[in-house]
Symmetry: C2
Subunit: 753 residues, 2 copies
Amino acid sequence: MKPLLPLTLLLSFAMPLLAGQDSASPLLGFTKTDADRERKLEARFDSSLRRSDLAPWMKRLSAHAHNIGSPYDRQNAEFIAAQFRSFGLETSIEQFDVLFPTPKIRILELTAPTVFHPLLAEPPVDGDSTSGQTAEVLPVYNAYSADGDVTGQLVYANYGVPKDYEELERHGIDVKGKIVITRYGGSWRGIKPKVAAEHGAVGCIIYSDPKEDGYYNGEVYPKGPFRNENGAQRGSVADMPLYAGDPLTPFVGATKEARRLPLREAATITKIPVLPISYADALPFLRALGGETVPESWRGALPVTYHFGPGPATVHLKLEFNWNIVPAYDVIGMVRGSAAPDEWVIRGNHHDGWVFGASDPISGQIALMEEAKGIGSLLAEGWRPRRTMVYCAWDGEEPGLLGSTEWAEAHAELLKRNAVVYINSDANGRGFLGVGGSHTLERFVNQVAKDVTDPERGVSIYERQRAVQLANSSGEEFRELRGRSGIRLSALGSGSDFTPFIQHLGVASLNLGFGGEDDGGDYHSVYDSYSLYTRFYDTSFVYGITLAQTAGRMMLRMANADILPFSTSNFTEAVDRYLREVTKLADDLRAEADEANQQIDNRTAFLSSDPRLPFIVPKRQDPVPFINFTPLQNAVAALRKSSDAFEQSAGLVRDDAIASSAKTVAEINTLFTTLERGLTLREGLPGRPWYVHEIYAPGRYTGYGVKTLPAVREALELKKWKEAEEQVDVVAGVITGFGRQIDKLTALLDKLR
Amino acid sequence: MKPLLPLTLLLSFAMPLLAGQDSASPLLGFTKTDADRERKLEARFDSSLRRSDLAPWMKRLSAHAHNIGSPYDRQNAEFIAAQFRSFGLETSIEQFDVLFPTPKIRILELTAPTVFHPLLAEPPVDGDSTSGQTAEVLPVYNAYSADGDVTGQLVYANYGVPKDYEELERHGIDVKGKIVITRYGGSWRGIKPKVAAEHGAVGCIIYSDPKEDGYYNGEVYPKGPFRNENGAQRGSVADMPLYAGDPLTPFVGATKEARRLPLREAATITKIPVLPISYADALPFLRALGGETVPESWRGALPVTYHFGPGPATVHLKLEFNWNIVPAYDVIGMVRGSAAPDEWVIRGNHHDGWVFGASDPISGQIALMEEAKGIGSLLAEGWRPRRTMVYCAWDGEEPGLLGSTEWAEAHAELLKRNAVVYINSDANGRGFLGVGGSHTLERFVNQVAKDVTDPERGVSIYERQRAVQLANSSGEEFRELRGRSGIRLSALGSGSDFTPFIQHLGVASLNLGFGGEDDGGDYHSVYDSYSLYTRFYDTSFVYGITLAQTAGRMMLRMANADILPFSTSNFTEAVDRYLREVTKLADDLRAEADEANQQIDNRTAFLSSDPRLPFIVPKRQDPVPFINFTPLQNAVAALRKSSDAFEQSAGLVRDDAIASSAKTVAEINTLFTTLERGLTLREGLPGRPWYVHEIYAPGRYTGYGVKTLPAVREALELKKWKEAEEQVDVVAGVITGFGRQIDKLTALLDKLR
């Protein structure tokens, strides 16, 4: 999986309070002496990185299909482990046993008004290194689709998200007993069969419209990198917003002896069968639809008039899967810390791909390997980090973050004690830094970004990221951006291996990569190959090195800092912003309901409707009550005070005090290590206890897309007004508790003045 | 020509000051007694209208191609004249002799990298009444394209408007010596070859992308009403924003003896050859383009990646025309006024079509004929209007408003003295009232709209129009709309026969029609047929009758009112709004220039650019000075005072005073008749003296699209800062003069208190 890195990261309002704001100053968390030493260390780290490693590694790791459960997946894990060992990391392969269905029967046919049998395959293309190796390729399918054999009229449901069904309802269309065809985009794919089933559909097709990543965007493979007519997108459809990882072992590591749910009780498996197809396969289905023409926002780029249906197209969909348990091989390489071995700084990228996966995930994996090699070269000099560094190559990310989640669950207690930070990457490309994560790390990330040079333009990746923000903004937004500095971290939803760390364990996390100049349409297709990557993406692997430099610096600074480089003002700003969003959301929902009801009262809908179409009487909406947000507003106001005091104290810390107060420093670092855990709640979010973070969660109806202050925001979105008000209190309590932790830190920092 | 009626007419801020605001009150401009008589007259008028007339008339008038110069065009004129005579109108056919080129040679070919010869024809389709009559059809072409024989590399220029060439420039593409292919939409078509030539292109192709009116919007003909792959759009490309009418006789009627310019001096003929084509014809040209992928807003709905070029596509375009002088037959039917025969109330619709023209213009023409028949039925009762009524069926509208313009120019002095109002219609369809025109008539139009019943929903066309406005708005806009009442008139640009009246003579004008439920793609194609119209548009002609009722009421009230029903507050509001728009425009241009220059100073463009593409150094922009708008602000403030006084006095007029003060009433009506002339300036607009109206004009670079306060607005848009400031003074002078006319009216109204 590769969460698309948001290009619209906003920049921070926060003003510098701590020392260490630019590259000339000492580093955040380091005394002057240690900062000098650290910078020299980083220079040696940089000079050890070799671009020439990357192409052979990518070629090696993407030479054969290496999905979880495949023979080459294991070989890759062993290859990576051997490399880690050769760099000097204490390395093991940790095995979990996870549910991984593969297709046994895939039948999709248009049975009326004409008969059509789609290809359901991605044929070899000229000049591609691996697409001819058809025997080893997993067929196009959605993992964790239910088995099923269904026939029904077809309905086009756009992206298949809840508001699309509201639109269908406005046109008098009910999908009950029908099969929906949806297009990729607009949400994470797993949302589509889930919402379809909630509305009574019996089957779901997901196709790749050329509007999303096909010819609409650029030339298609092999002429260009975009999705050709036969390219299809594999991918998991497990209900990951409920819980990530092995569907049979929620909350616990899928070890050999773990207690497993019976298959029928695995809540994350879809309720209806679902199959992804290409646009060549989709076109005859769409052409066979009748009914009204869909609204403009529903139209793709195929040369056809898009209609809602239902019918006359009738579809037969039959799917059966091999519900096998397969081994997941996580490669774990450690470097024990010299001073604080129980403070763990963790780095990860997955190694399994859907097929050959040169871009996703190998482009990120080889950067992680190069980074580990750089650490190894420092170890070879005799250097040791203060804290323990852990390098992880995860298996089974694609079907559902299996390797990372099972590892995080298996070692939950240890990690909750020891994990300082988890730094993730996934597919990596060419262009600009995209970075999201815990806002207590925002200032730290900005400092690192100022110290890494962009290989294309020779300025820092910070400057280049800022330039692209400015270039893509105008008017008010431009003036606001210009008036402040800093890269703003995006909030993390899901879609890669950070999820079990930040959202299930409460470990402060980051997710980063480069992109924006490497758009293409190979995602989860057989055409994600070494050939495509080296023709169109980071062709000379310069951004592979830049990722190693960026993540490597993050690891080294986190591992070596005298005081862990967390800060609080950007987090406070972020929470304040989220709070303003949810209060505005409540107001907007109230205005919308009011507006909709007035349109009914004034017969606006009737009088403006076309009498040649059936008139569907709009449903009256319940009026939206005023929600009491004051507990949260007061909690955030108090947090701001705590944060201001913290930042002030942090700015007054003296280097000699650090050197002479080992116990206080240790206490501070222990508190920092578990700081993010203070944002979690043991009971978890309403209806999904696996997710315990009260600030960030993947959306129940967006999937990868984040919901901030999720307990409150989703209650509002689902029009559960009472729950929203209750959750305001709950989140206010969490934020108040977090403020108290900060106060403790401030008190300790004051001892170092 | 059919200017698309804007669905987004905004509603008026103006509060009622005069009596006669709703249908229960007396009519604006009528004493109570006369209002009663008028309402009864209108009821008899309504009851005389027969829906059954319309289908046979449409069938008759659209049975053969009836473009200007064709045999059937003359037969249609004679048929309409015979009808007018049978209704009791004094009818004549007035002939003008106008330049009307038709194609002699049309060669378009793709010569490299492959060879392709487009069809350049619209084949017959099954079930269509007339598309098989290929012998009588004018081939697809653009009237007033220059002759030419050119070969060059092809460049895709989107809509071909100035900002598209700025985009090309940002990508380092110069069209000098090249042929551009543009798509229909985004401006009036005549702008495309004009701007292409200004940038040095040697030829221009205009194609109908399916995004605009093809399958993207609905099923294509004959399955649905949208443009099929072979449908193409004929149309004029004369530089009508310079002057309308016969290119050889600007300012004077094209009578037999008129002095004609030599062809080479006719400034409205294009500088380069231009040809319209279908999307089936366009596809191979677009496929053959290389270069960068175009930005999203440039992409159409063809199944291809859209590239800028230039080349490798190379194109040969050769066009030669028969530059013939042909007769235009205007049918003029008059009913002499009983009391004020020198006050003329004029109504018009054109009768010529590009081919069979069932929708454009026959749907409007038959409504006008039915309206004239209704007037005839009142005449047969012995009734006579107070003022003279003139019904006009124009010829040669399609190539360039020829018939109406030559008539208006030939009778300019008479019309400037006598014309009270010109009321226009053109193609008419199914749905909601669309109406634009002089804002001194806004209150009048609202009152009429409240008195006409929508045939689909049984409420007034006013209520239905308001419902569609509300249904299409949300948020702030919805709340604002809900908070006020009234239909707001759109400002008139060009595209139909109102232009010579309002913009060249300064005659208060209206343009109206129904639409919004009749989208299709037959515009200016051979498929605009009786079959298509009666299958998809106003199939039972109920809106033909509604148009006759609406325009007929306007004519009757204008012809019978005791005091002409003009008012000033809506006009004042409109001018004030336009003034705020132009001051904001100056501020926006200043901010944009500032922003663009800052992006250059900060190297934003360079740092955010993709190094794999050539980097084009952006041009520094001249800073935008502050423009002194105070003369206009003061003039509008004074106008508001004059208008308030006028409305107050108008509200106090007594019926008995009207009855007993014939001389004052006559003076008032004379002043009202020429009121709109007060908004004109003899010298005309900068660089285009034919256009004399200082409030409304077609845009030099939009064509049909209106520019309000054009002298100021276009100077700003063209970055002529000095001219903008000079024109602020000029327009302020005009508005001040207009205010004095209102003061005179107020003084006269005060005699009737």
